[in-house]
């Protein structure tokens, strides 16, 4: 089973954490059939990043009101409760819904969301930077569970 681990973000403040996790994973030794990708914008980049995947783990910054750097494991259905950071309403949840509508969504999708602290400066908050390793391990763990037949079905979420 081919699993895409997709870091989502821009080079801006704590929004960059998804990319930082992807960079760390890409530099490490990965299990067979685990592919790491980077994605700047959910639309259109995420749709392309999902192509060819049997399952996907998305890694992105999020704001749920928790402590900066805390890590949440979410299913696509959980996204509706989060406020979309995209002012056009074209965030991860919408990109996943579009992928499903276009028949381009893998059977399983899960998210590793890292609580963002600040969105002002160009560097990661210390607490967010400190969570990169744990978030990378969490993403890899979910990828392995998916390959072992575990994980949650995305379409049901």
């Amino acid at each position: 089973m081919r699993v895409h681990v997709i870091g989502i973000g821009t080079a801006h403040a704590d929004d960059a954490v998804g990319l930082a996790v992807a960079d760390l994973l890409a530099a490490s030794v990965l299990p067979e059939d685990v592919v790491v990708l980077r994605c700047a914008r959910p639309l259109p980049d995420l749709l392309d990043a999902l192509d060819g995947a049997d399952a996907a783990v998305l890694v992105d910054a999020a704001r749920t009101g928790g402590a900066p750097g805390s890590i949440h494991r979410l299913r696509p259905g959980d996204l509706a409760r989060l406020r979309s950071p995209s002012s056009h309403g074209l965030g991860v949840a919408q990109a996943l819904a579009l992928a499903v509508a276009l028949g381009r969504a893998p059977a399983r999708v899960e998210l590793v969301a890292i609580e963002a602290g600040q969105m002002q400066s160009d560097v990661l908050s210390p607490a967010v930077a400190a969570s990169i390793g744990a978030a990378a391990d969490a993403a890899l763990q979910i990828a392995r569970e998916m390959q072992d037949g575990g994980g949650e079905a995305a379409r049901d979420a």
């Binding site: 821009t10 080079a11 801006h12 700047a40 914008r41 639309l43 259109p44 980049d45 749709l47 392309d48 002012s87 056009h88 309403g89 074209l90 919408q94 819904a97 579009l98 509508a101 276009l102 028949g103």
Partner: protein, 437 residues
């Protein structure tokens, strides 16, 4: 005895930024109409002060996630005007390619994801994808090409960093440019097919008696260069922008309202103004697309803006290919010497003309920066459009009226975040005051 009905709509969806529409009606009469922009002011003009001018291209890219190229291009041309920097023909051509990428990306985002749901009576592009999968996939493929261009020249598609005074930090290789040309060549027909699909949709009509303002260039469809011209006789250089137009503060908005300085009246910038003012410079394929939709351009109609965008996607494809096929030699290393100077530039952002004026000191530090984005120029016209639309809004059920107002605002593809310095719709219906007997 006054009956007051208030309709709360919530922030207007599918626009960039935050704002609200407040509409007060007495009987059939509009007594008050305010497009309220409450997106916080962002003070870009102030925070540029004292910074080195060469920081501006990256700084300006942060103003907008959708049209960073426009801000970069107006800023860099203003600096070059202030310093007397000669622009290499290769740089000039690559800037046109870069801007074409942004037009393609921004226009397709608006056409399929922001506007198309209005024409189909659907909530979003996800619902469109369930019924018109091929068209949504086509729009995504085309938009991705715009993205490709931005990444090639800007280094990345979000907040691109490739622009420098006098040129680009990295010039793409011939092989990269040829590969891009190979991807773009079949895409023009795709863009034509997509426009045909939009032409088959029930796109409304709302002609306006409004002055159209765009750039006009002697020999090409306007992007980075040209004089500012209008359908009512304005013809000025970029440096004379402030003689022809003025911005006024209004209490209900953090965006300034622009108007024609001589007449005090609103004007329209953007794809409608560009297409109608530059028909003779459309590429053959874009001109053919316009001819097939000519009745929609008989008079200025913001509701036809989706067609203007579709025509401009074809134009941008052709412009991009023209640059790529010209196969110009790589530009020389930019020579920019900081000096004291004043510079002005106007370029055509996807939403319309974007004016930048700045002043640098002898060290090249920014002493003054002024930015007039297209949405603040269109805001007074949006209000005029809605005022004319109010009787229709009143005559239909509240939900439909709200959709009608929102769709009308979306026709302008307002970029509210950029304009602050946008939408909850509130409609108050008051009974006309009782006449004394």
């Amino acid at each position: 005895m006054t009956e007051r009905r208030t309709i709360e709509v919530g922030a207007i969806a599918r626009v960039e930024g935050e704002g609200a529409l407040h509409l007060v009606l007495e009987g059939d009469r509009v007594v008050d109409l305010r497009l309220e922009i409450y997106e916080p002011p962002r003070f870009f003009e102030a925070l540029a002060r004292g910074r080195r001018a060469d920081e501006l291209p990256d700084l300006m890219a942060r103003i907008c996630g959708i049209c960073p190229v426009a801000y970069q291009m107006s800023a860099v041309h203003a600096i070059e005007a202030a310093w007397g920097v000669a622009i290499d023909p290769g740089v000039r051509a690559l800037r046109r390619l870069y801007y074409a990428g942004e037009w393609i990306e921004s226009h397709l985002l608006h056409m399929m994801f922001l506007a198309a749901p209005d024409f189909l009576g659907l909530d979003d592009a996800m619902q469109i994808a369930q019924r018109h999968r091929n068209q949504v996939e086509r729009a995504l493929r085309l938009r991705k090409l715009g993205n490709r261009i931005l990444i090639l020249l800007g280094g990345r598609s979000v907040n691109p960093v490739g622009v420098r005074i006098g040129g680009f930090h990295r010039i793409p290789t011939r092989a990269e440019l040829r590969a891009l040309a190979d991807e773009l060549r079949p895409a023009r027909a795709e863009a034509e097919l997509l426009l045909h699909w939009f032409a088959s949709l029930p796109v409304p009509s709302r002609p306006q008696d409004v002055e159209l303002v765009s750039l006009r260039h002697a020999s090409e469809y306007p992007m980075n260069e040209g004089r500012i011209v209008s359908s009512r006789g304005i013809d000025v250089a970029a440096a004379e922008f402030e003689t022809a137009f003025e911005e006024v503060q209004v209490p209900h908005s953090t965006a300034l309202h622009a108007r024609n300085r001589a007449t005090g009246t609103p004007y329209l910038v953007g794809p409608i103004a560009r297409v109608m003012g530059n028909l003779d410079h459309l590429s053959p394929a874009a001109a053919a697309a316009h001819a097939s939709l000519a009745e929609r351009f008989a008079s200025p109609d913001p509701a036809a803006s989706v067609f203007a965008r579709g025509i401009e996607v074809i134009q941008a494809m052709d412009d991009a290919l023209a640059v790529l096929d010209a196969d110009l030699p790589p530009p020389a290393e930019p020579q920019a010497v900081p000096r004291a100077g004043i510079g002005h530039a106007v370029t055509e952002a996807p939403r319309g003309i974007l004016y930048v004026s700045l002043e640098t000191d002898a060290a090249g530090d920014v002493q003054r920066l002024r930015i007039v984005p297209p949405t603040s120029q269109n805001q007074a016209q949006i209000e005029a459009d809605l005022r004319a639309l109010a009787p229709r809004i009143l005559a239909i059920p509240e939900d439909e009226g709200r959709r009608l107002a929102e769709a009308a605002i979306r026709d302008y593809d307002p970029c509210i975040s950029c304009a602050t310095h946008f939408l909850t719709v509130t409609v108050e219906r008051r009974e006309p005051p009782c006449e004394s007997t």
